[in-house]
């Protein structure tokens, strides 16, 4: 059922190569620790945490079934794997699209969730990026080939062999498909686990940065243009519709406008110093409108 992951032969280039064994430290947290605590005390070694295991999950068995409690398998912790005890998982509209089969065929049962924050409770022998007790995050992607040009250029999301998404993707480790963060635990290759700095608000971190940070447009192709999208970095907030968009104060002398399909978004945006393109909902037959007074304000 499960396979131990074997690292690809050569991962050089810009990707950091993590070596040096740290020993198989498998240690479940004693549940009483505060979620945001960086305290690593009180950890008990328990090699069984690194074994393949069944965990509780929440998912759907068909496109029309409500989500319910399920049991899923997580693979054994391989040499480059991290086992996370999931603390928070954001709910994205993508989850709904996938569960309901709206983005093409979906594998069922489907356990969604790609905005994961959890505590590291076991690491593989070759993992140096994390120690037991650290906080890690997982976004939309959990694996890629690691050797193609995009992967070497830190663009794993554009892997030539296709990225492995956090849920619903064919899973090379198990031969099945991936299950997401609406679950108790997850095993992910260390490279794809984001370090969450100590002291961060974990619930608020889950949705914010572990999702589609494309909204902050770090794509290199765009940076070659006069507009540096990186200048807008960090101004994201989560909108009522769930979008983290560029909505902070104008930066680097650029004027920043929002076009948000909901009025609520525009109002919040103006509080942040943005001009707002006031649009109606974008349904067919609806005319988009611009309220020029907002443009004039900035």
């Amino acid at each position: 059922m499960t396979q131990t992951y074997t690292e690809e032969k050569s991962v050089a280039g810009r990707r950091r190569v993590l070596k040096a064994g740290a020993g198989l430290m498998a240690a479940p947290m004693l549940g009483a620790m505060a979620a945001s605590s960086g305290n690593r005390g009180g950890i008990r070694n328990d090699p069984s945490a690194a074994a393949a295991q069944n965990v509780r999950a929440v998912g759907a068995k068909s496109a029309t079934a409500p989500l319910g409690s399920l049991t899923i398998s997580r693979r054994a912790v391989g040499p480059r794997d991290v086992l996370l005890d999931i603390l928070y998982c954001g709910v994205c509209h993508s989850d709904i699209h996938t569960v309901r089969g709206e983005w093409g065929p979906t594998q069922y049962p489907c356990v969604p969730g790609h905005e994961i924050v959890g505590r590291v409770i076991a690491v593989g022998t070759e993992v140096t990026k994390f120690q037991v007790g650290d906080i890690g995050g997982v976004g939309c992607i959990v694996d890629s080939c690691g050797v193609c040009e995009p992967c070497q250029d830190d663009l794993e999301q554009y892997c030539e062999k296709g990225m492995t998404q956090t849920y619903g993707s064919p899973d090379a480790h198990t031969g099945g498909y991936t299950f997401g963060g609406y679950s108790d635990r997850v095993v992910v290759k260390d490279h794809f686990v984001i370090r969450i700095p100590p002291g961060a608000d974990l619930a608020a971190m889950a949705p914010f940065a572990l999702r589609r940070c494309h909204d902050l447009l770090a794509d290199a192709a765009l940076e070659t243009r006069t507009w540096s999208a990186r200048g807008c970095r960090g101004h994201g907030r989560t909108w009522p519709c769930g979008r983290a968009t560029c909505c902070g104060p104008p930066c680097r002398g650029h004027r920043v406008y929002d076009h948000i399909i909901e009025t609520r978004g525009c109002q919040a945006s103006r509080r942040n110093g943005c001009g707002a393109l006031h649009g109606c909902r974008g349904h067919e037959g609806t005319r988009w409108q611009v309220r020029s007074d907002h443009l004039d304000r900035t």
Binding site: V91, I96, A204, L217, T226, T238
Partner: protein
């Protein structure tokens, strides 16, 4: 919209459904780009002529890479930038889905697994 034609360097479209895009293409100035990150279905009403005039680009983007995501997380943590969230229990997920679909959700729903683990 016509009054603002040709004024924008960059437009990021997060609208999650296909919608007539021509009006927004026309807002772009020379070499401007409209980046679609929302609609994953066929895009509507984009006339080639309106891209050619002004050398405009219609682009797409899926997600960030790992290094970029780490950078964003570090940036936000250092500056205490947070998402606004509403915590829910795992057994409230079906209600939460409804809230996302009908847009009654105010901030982002986040499933709280931590509370039950602390209690346990």
């Amino acid at each position: 919209m016509k009054a603002h034609a040709g004024k924008f360097d960059l437009i990021i479209s997060t609208v999650p459904n296909g919608y007539p895009m021509q009006a927004f293409i026309d807002l772009l100035k020379l070499n401007g780009t409209l980046v679609n990150v929302g609609a994953m279905e066929p895009l509507k009403e984009v006339k080639g002529l309106h891209l050619a005039i002004g050398r405009r680009a219609l682009a797409g983007s899926i997600i960030g890479g790992i290094a970029e995501t780490q950078e964003v997380v570090d940036y936000c943590a250092a500056r205490n930038i947070k998402a606004q969230v509403q915590l829910i229990r795992p057994d409230e997920i079906n209600t939460a889905f409804e809230g996302v679909i009908d847009k009654s959700v105010r901030y982002r729903y986040v499933i709280d697994f931590a509370s039950s683990k602390r209690a346990g």
